[in-house]
Symmetry: C2
Subunit: 80 residues, 2 copies
């Protein structure tokens, strides 16, 4: 079994209102010196595959088709 972590983040230049809200919340909690905050998603996925190359290809396909909106999001895949 292969464990993978897929991280999906917004591309540069794409507005991130949730990140902005967190910036504001951190400031109002008294945290100083906080610059930009961007929020993304992470998926921990278990695969029955034993072939790491096949697993990575399969994960890439999952990202393109379901997990990420590649118009506005980047994704990275890390195998355990």
């Amino acid at each position: 079994m292969i464990k993978a972590r897929v991280t999906v983040t917004l591309k540069n230049g794409v507005l991130d209102p949730q990140g902005k809200a967190i910036e504001g919340a951190l400031a109002s909690l008294g945290f100083q010196g906080v610059g930009h905050v961007r929020q993304g998603k992470v998926f921990d996925i278990e695969l029955d595959d034993t072939d790491r190359a096949a697993a990575e290809a399969s994960l890439r396909d999952m990202c393109e088709r379901l997990l990420a909106n590649t118009v506005i999001e980047n994704y990275t895949i890390a195998l355990d």
Copy 2:
């Protein structure tokens, strides 16, 4: 400036309906051999700090107070 990535994931044993929905969606898209899927959040945070130890302490405080619900979530902090 320090860039940090905070990853927040659900603790083991906490139900993750969103992860379950993704499992179902992947299966219905024809992906086979997909085991458990768990979804989490990632925050990319820029700090004006130059002291890495102080930055990490500050990030830990942000996690405890805002970014993570430590009753049901774990967090990890990675400095760039």
